[in-house]
Symmetry: D2
Subunit: 342 residues, 4 copies
């Protein structure tokens, strides 16, 4: 089939390549002409404007937006004004699923189909394939299925789940029609919420290993930190975290792709000196916790991971000041003090 | 009655004063002669050694230790060697209740009573009285009751709980025999665990108020932090936190002494510029969470407050580095990056 | 002054009484005629419809809505259609501050002032006064100030904060103009978020005390729960929680009104047999955590308290099933099993 | 080499088999004769007592204990009395690493080596191999290396970490000498702490997906739960969780072995009706959080997962009762009530 890709950043460019490798035709557009030229050199049909892009597609047109969340809305609105009933707009970026719900309604009023695709795989997707979580109406999803199949990793990317037999389902091939518009980004949102927590789980555990020599450091008898009651149990100063991450990759219960990446990072830079420890978050983790709260579903692990990211960027500073001020108030403590009457 | 006080720091000195004001005699000792002299000038009987202190007391002797937790054990051992069966050693410091259990056993083997007293009230105790949580055998607690009553705030310190009539119980006067040795510090430990969480509750809430203008700051369309979906709801830049703390002091559900202290601190220093936000912890908060874990009792709120203190002192740094390294691994993100494929 | 009160439930009726006791005139309306008659018998001017209520007021009219959040919006819309420029609508219920922002805009388009008042004090407000957190424009807040002052507890409800001298501020009297429309409910929202966490702090701490006899119960050597390594430190079976709550009321750092209530409840019903432990939440706690997330402010303590409420109502059930299923998957564990290879 | 295995439960029996398959000789003992006979039938040398077991081994003897943690200590003590200097005792069970530290000291006083091996892999280890985390002195670990290599999965169990070249390290083969005695179980302890959090991350995320239809259920206008402000965003009633787990297995960032198991469980039993949701914990998760606390390392994600397990078994009940009693106290709320003055 023939499809247009708008937005040729790291993700959009690689996805275009993977779609073309599967034998499909791609019309490509980006506000940066160089990005268009690069893909054109690899066989794509470059265009210079959204209008040209629409003209270059057969009916029903399929346009895949792969843009930063902050500009996707405007791009979609522009397309809604150029496309015709029966055409399909796909948002494959990191949109908030609520924007999908609103945009799908706007699109539907013009007879245009709106499909949202949550995409996981990062910079590895060209090679590994992309895990695709799709929302939209059945007709539109059916129409774009060949492209979804081309982008997905395929069934061989993992062993078959015991009990599953016969023709592999779409999910087994790495893409899933999750529900009506927004459902794709909703599932992707939760995916990222889980991702944050798994990342934090390894990070915290490795930190506990890193602190296992706490009993070797003589602590003064002050109130800054309580002395260890049993320092003999904290004498492990030299646990090699890169080797620990490596050993967990084989045969353990906690093997995962994120562990593989952790092992790679620790092998290359055992003290992670290239990182300042300020962890960014990109929205989905926040939205997952908000959804949990609005649904009344407890998600203490997911939200703890999110808050740790906020705190890593200094956002807990004022709360710390308040507590130090309170301690000063009842105990006369300066921030590091000798006696702690409590 | 006549009682000895060992350790004349801020807490021990003021407690001696409060005991003497109630008409009791105090023998006092501290390794700092000046501290002894100061109390002697106020009517206490100063001594120059533990041996002298023991000799200065009538039988059965009652010795109150008010020392840093790290040196209490040694002081108690010394006393156990000097005292006689029937004498009483009181530990009024911030000891781990497990040390009480062990020390009470050692004392008991010599016929000596061991009483542990968890003491709350901080620098305000001389004026307000001390809240005392007591562990020990009935005989010993009965013996020291006059001193406990002298130190406690007394029944008028708070309105009577509805339903309570007749002679006020010891708890209504501000001291409580909680159980066998260690029970006093166990209850005090939990008291402090609760204290940490209440402090953090106010601190977090005030921080949320402080962030209520988040929608006024234009965010670039990047992945460092997701843009607010509804910035119009975060336009409160000028909420006066000192006034908020003040208004909550009257008639609200969250009025408390810690709130009073918070209001005082914010009025004096609205931005809390005198504090760096590194919050100390003195042991009890840790021990409370450990007890919760060993008992199998969920304490997510108490432990979250504890971990926030650790993080306020930089202890989450390595975990942050791990997560930034993982993000780099799957998304090619530098620590602040433009696009977040997730 | 003369003011109308719409909604004569527990809160609205008592607030009307407190306003009248201060010498103001009240016009009252409720869809339940009996509620109107009851207040009329105490001196209020009862009316039978919103239209009558509007007619009974002098210009500029001031109407206080004290309704469940779910019906406040409709009542406000109705009023906006009946009132005139310069009139004031006050929402004193538990509205989401975002609704205030939207409603204030709608009111403003008609020249009507909108004031939101977060009200704390519960069933005790008639006696103690109500803590009032107010949002709105200066002109409107100035206009209703006499009523706010009448409802607030007054300066004597708490000792003056050290450093504050001269004429007491509004906050010292128990009400505060927090900012533009919505700011009152925003501050009240955070107040309740804090409230949830303080409640949970006491609840968790008391539970840890309740579990202090964990070492007395012989545990079979199975994998359901790990055996205690040091059972000798968990032998406190008989800590009297009602007495503990009582003793903390005097002189301790954690004294508070919520502690007073806890002591009352435990004295009346030591095992709290009248409660099933399903803790409701009314919105503000959720909204506080959502605000924290959207602002990027870590609030692990507040959110942990919220999630515990969800879980208390059974909302963590499916998550538990998933984890039991995972354990079965890697370890062959039934939900209670003998050996746990991990 | 020749090695003895004591404890022929699910784990010990399969490990014996894997050792024999690699060409080593095994002497086996269990208090259940049938378990001994079963392994004898597969080529092991069965013995009827610990004494016989010791006699059946060449010097230096190597005895692997694979017993429940609660009985390992006694078994080790018995062996210490029967073995000779230079012999090796291996504890491959789920012991607390602190017991290893103590036992290694006791063993060392007799010249006996003590090696602790944390073992992950569960019921799948016979097929996949076991991930082994080893503590002990260099000499002893060197001696037992052939058996460790036999049990470990081998380098082919996972792709090589980028950057690693040359002869694969022990960690790359699936076993690691982590440090002195106790270090093996310390690392395994943290492994399980991480495991709990990863399990909870998936469980919470799937629960959020399961609640995505929250907006379809009309809520009464009461205070039990706040009504959703935007129900139109919670209309996903039919997200197929088994298919979601399946799609995440291919190409996504959160692919893992625990996800594989989750997908298997959900495919077999979509509503997980075979599970009651009471999640057991076996010690390591608790110990990990205790270590984090004693080290002063924040682990909010790991501990949140642990507490959720406690709560899943009903351990938060009293805390819930306290909070419901408090709500009743300030708001007059019964546990489900109509109006929530807050």
């Amino acid at each position: 089939m023939k499809i247009a890709m708008v937005g040729l950043g790291r993700m959009g460019a690689n996805m275009t390549r993977r779609i073309m490798r599967a034998g499909h035709e791609c019309v490509v557009f980006d506000r940066a002409p160089a990005a268009v030229q690069a893909l054109a050199a690899e066989g794509a049909q470059g265009v210079a404007s959204t209008e040209d892009l629409v003209r270059a597609l057969p009916s029903p047109r399929v346009v895949w937006l792969m843009l930063p969340a902050a500009v996707t809305g405007q791009a979609a609105q522009t397309l809604f004004g150029l496309l015709e009933p029966g055409d399909v707009v796909i948002d494959g970026g990191n949109s908030y699923y609520r924007d999908d719900v609103d945009r799908a309604q706007a699109a539907g009023e013009r007879g245009i189909h709106y499909v949202d695709v949550g995409t996981s795989g990062g910079v590895w997707g060209l090679e590994r394939g992309y895990c695709l979580m799709v929302g939209g109406d059945d007709e539109a999803v059916k129409l774009v299925e060949p492209v979804l199949a081309a982008l997905a990793p395929g069934v061989d990317a993992a062993g078959r789940t015991p009990g599953r037999t016969g023709e592999p389902s779409a999910a087994e091939q790495g893409w899933l029609h999750c529900g009506p518009p927004g459902a794709g980004h909703f599932v992707k949102m939760v995916h990222n919420g889980i991702e944050y927590a798994i990342m934090a789980a390894y990070a915290e555990g490795l930190s506990v290993l890193g602190g296992a020599g706490a009993g070797r450091h003589v602590r003064e008898a002050d109130a800054e930190t309580a002395p260890l009651r049993d320092p003999q149990y904290y004498q492990y100063d030299a646990i090699d975290l890169a080797e620990v991450a490596e050993v967990w990759r084989r045969g353990s219960v906690i093997g995962s792709w994120l562990l593989d990446l952790t092992a790679t990072a620790l092998y290359a830079d055992p003290d992670l000196e290239h990182f300042a420890g300020r962890v960014s978050d990109s929205g989905e983790g926040r939205w997952t916790s908000i959804a949990a709260i609005e649904e009344g579903v407890p998600s203490p692990v997911l939200t703890a991971a999110l808050y740790s990211r906020f705190a890593s960027r200094g956002a807990a500073l004022f709360a710390g000041k308040v507590q130090s001020a309170q301690r000063k108030g009842f105990g006369g403590h300066d921030e590091k003090d000798e006696l702690t009457p409590g």
